[in-house]
């Protein structure tokens, strides 16, 4: 796997994005923490300074200026008098000055007093680094000023420690995010590759290839299952197509052979115009039969393509069956069959009127065709909570149980009816295709005697109504 592919992977990009987001959040957090800690520490320094100023002032109030100077000296410790440089690094800084320049006590060389708290910058001296002193001035008496301050060194030390800790945390998080991103990206890519490779193999012609499932029922397995089911469906359709192609080739060859033989015989045998006319008329009939077979095949494939389902409307099944009944009543009478109907209430279905009429027409014609004269043909409609069940029942010879599944296939003709003319063996295949398009169950059963064809439609839910 090339690294650029991982960098392009969605998972990795997401991990990188989260790492960046985390960095921004960490930065905000650090700033807030620093601001709070800094504020607290400065407040503590200021309070300590105030307490010192108060002590010195108390000394002055009780016993005068000398006592105040003494307090400062005590604060500076026993070495206070020996020289302020020794105490250059002491955290506290004191200075008592008279008239702005005479130092009475303290460990600083000079101070320019300002209003309130201010920061005094001490340049580096000797081996000591530069320091910041936060302090304030107070007037002890006329001309005598006191400065009390404290080193801000601990403040910056704390700040540095916090920054240091947070930096490590941030670096660690980023590293984990990158590692996780790479890991997840790899896993993601591995799954994608599995799907892609299977698809490529299918494209390459190996239609039996399927995406392996991991058995975890996660989104990957669901995707893989959906693709596998899609491939199953495509394979089945292709298989069907192969079957149909060979059936068509076979079933068309027979009538074409007859047609050709008849025409050839007419050409070679000396005959009169009447004979020719008869042969031509016969040939046109043969051609029409072939064409009707073609249009039936086309209709089946159009129905199986499923596009008609987009224009389904809500139809009254009883009205539709009544129409078919009225259409075939005279036909049945002429062929000496008894056509009757029994509708138990109206039923609403979603469907294509033209196709449904053709479906029921095919079933009735099938019954007229196969059942002998005098047979009863009944059209039934039952309505239940689950949906509607339409039935076409005859008391003819029926279909043996082992052949019931096969008669729904294209071009399948039972051996008993094979000799009959004018039937191309596509009627029930079209019925099956139309039923499937409507999501209806097609069942062939024994009417004892005869054939019973049930078509069970699902109930129309209110959301489907138009």
């Amino acid at each position: 796997m090339r690294p650029t592919r991982i960098l392009k992977a969605e998972t990795f990009r997401l991990a990188a994005l989260f790492a960046l987001l985390f960095l921004v959040l960490t930065g905000t957090l650090i700033a807030t923490v620093l601001w709070i800690v800094d504020g607290t520490q400065r407040a503590a320094l200021a309070a300590a300074n105030d307490a010192d100023v108060e002590t010195v002032m108390n000394g002055f109030r009780d016993e005068g200026l000398e006592e105040a100077v003494e307090v400062v000296k005590q604060r500076l410790g026993p070495a206070g008098a020996t020289g302020r440089h020794k105490h250059a690094m002491a955290p506290e800084a004191y200075l008592v000055i008279e008239n702005g320049h005479d130092i009475l006590a303290g460990n600083l060389s000079a101070v320019t007093c300002q209003q309130g708290l201010f920061t005094l910058a001490l340049p580096p001296s000797g081996r000591h680094r530069s320091r910041q002193i936060l302090g304030r001035c107070a007037a002890i008496t006329d001309g005598v000023e006191l400065f009390v301050g404290r080193d801000t060194g601990p403040l910056s030390a704390t700040r540095e420690r916090i920054l240091h800790a947070f930096t490590w945390v941030a670096v660690g998080t980023c590293a984990i995010a990158v590692v996780c991103g790479l890991f997840l990206g790899r896993r993601f890519m591995a799954r994608v590759d599995a799907v892609t490779q299977t698809c490529e193999r299918v494209i390459g012609g190996r239609l039996e290839e399927r995406i392996p499932l991991r058995g975890r029922d996660d989104e990957w397995d669901r995707l893989a299952r959906a693709i596998n089911e899609m491939l199953d469906r495509i394979s089945a359709l292709l298989e069907n197509l192969k079957q149909v192609s060979s059936d068509v080739a076979h079933d068309l060859r027979t009538p074409l052979t007859h047609l050709r033989n008849r025409l050839e015989a007419a050409r070679t045998s000396p005959a009169d115009v009447q004979h020719y006319a008869a042969v031509i008329s016969h040939a046109i009939d043969d051609t029409d039969q072939l064409l009707s077979m073609f249009s039936a095949l086309l209709r089946i494939s159009q129905v199986e393509a499923g596009t008609r389902a987009q224009t389904f409307a809500t139809l009254c099944l009883m009205d539709l069956l009544e129409k078919v009944y009225q259409l075939y009543l005279p036909v049945a009478e002429d062929s000496r069959h008894v056509l009757s109907r029994e509708f138990k209430g109206p039923a609403w279905v979603r469907g294509d009127e033209e196709l449904l009429i053709q479906m029921f027409s095919n079933l009735i014609e099938n019954a007229i065709y196969h059942a002998p004269e005098g047979s009863q043909i009944r059209i039934g409609l039952e309505v239940s909570d689950d949906g509607a069940k339409a039935a076409v029942i005859d008391d003819g010879p029926g279909i043996p149980e082992e052949e019931r599944g096969k008669v729904l296939r294209r071009f399948y003709r039972m051996s008993s009816s094979r000799s009959k003319q004018g039937h191309h063996g596509l009627g029930l295949a079209l019925v099956a295709a139309i039923a499937q398009l409507h999501g209806a169950q097609l069942k062939l059963s024994d009417a004892g005697p005869g054939l019973r064809v049930d078509i069970e439609f699902k109930r129309v839910t209110s959301t489907q109504g138009s």
């Binding site: 249009s295 008609r308 129409k323 259409l327 065709y369 004018g422």
Partner: protein, 268 residues
Amino acid sequence: MHGGTVPKAGARFMYIIVRPEFYPCVYIPRFTLTGVECTVETSSSPPRLLLVEDDLELAQSLVERFGEQGFTVNHVTDGRTGLNAALDADYHAIIVDRMLPGMDGLDMVKAIRRQKSTPVMYLTTMSGIDDRVQGLEAGGDDYLVKPFAFAELLARVRVMTRRTVFASSKLSAGSIEIDLVRRSVTRRGQFVELLPQEFRLLEYLMRNVNRTVTRKMLLEKVWDIHFDPHTSVVESHISRLRARLNAGCDIDAIQTVRGIGYRLLAPN
């Protein structure tokens, strides 16, 4: 293209009265006892057809056979030329293939319909339900799927080019009269009882009186059925209609045209 001289669909009647010389058909208003009845009759010149078809062999055969039947056929092979021809001259009917070079037959018919109401018949290999519905929605008047019998095409074109427009609720043909509002039928003044679909069948035959209508046309126009039944559906219904209509009469009103269809005869 034609400026203001072309009538909009639906405004044909008014236009004919004002400018009859631009229209191929002549309306002859006829006042009968049942009301005003206007028949679109062909003028004395032979009926003119425009055939837009890129299959030369088929087109040549159609030109010849329509010629034998007294039609003048102008044949063009692509959609654009067809559209120009349809807009430049007046025809009694236009026969259009759906898949044409230059311009799709469907678009061509839509373009013609924006300016003219000449009857249009599709002649096509596109046999799907959607194809037919699309074709008729685009403004076509009839749809015939290839391959077809010439007799079928001829019957349909004849019905198309000689449309009878009845302004009355009553139709009459010879001794038969029907009342479309009351749904009643009389023959020689005697009431004839008909079932609803027998009535519709008779109505269609009466609207095309003295013209051959094919079984396929009857299935489509009377029952709205667009597939080939394998049983004699039309024959059975016609025989029942005949029996009821001819009861007590010695003349059969419905003539069978062998191998093609039927014709309701009304002697003038």
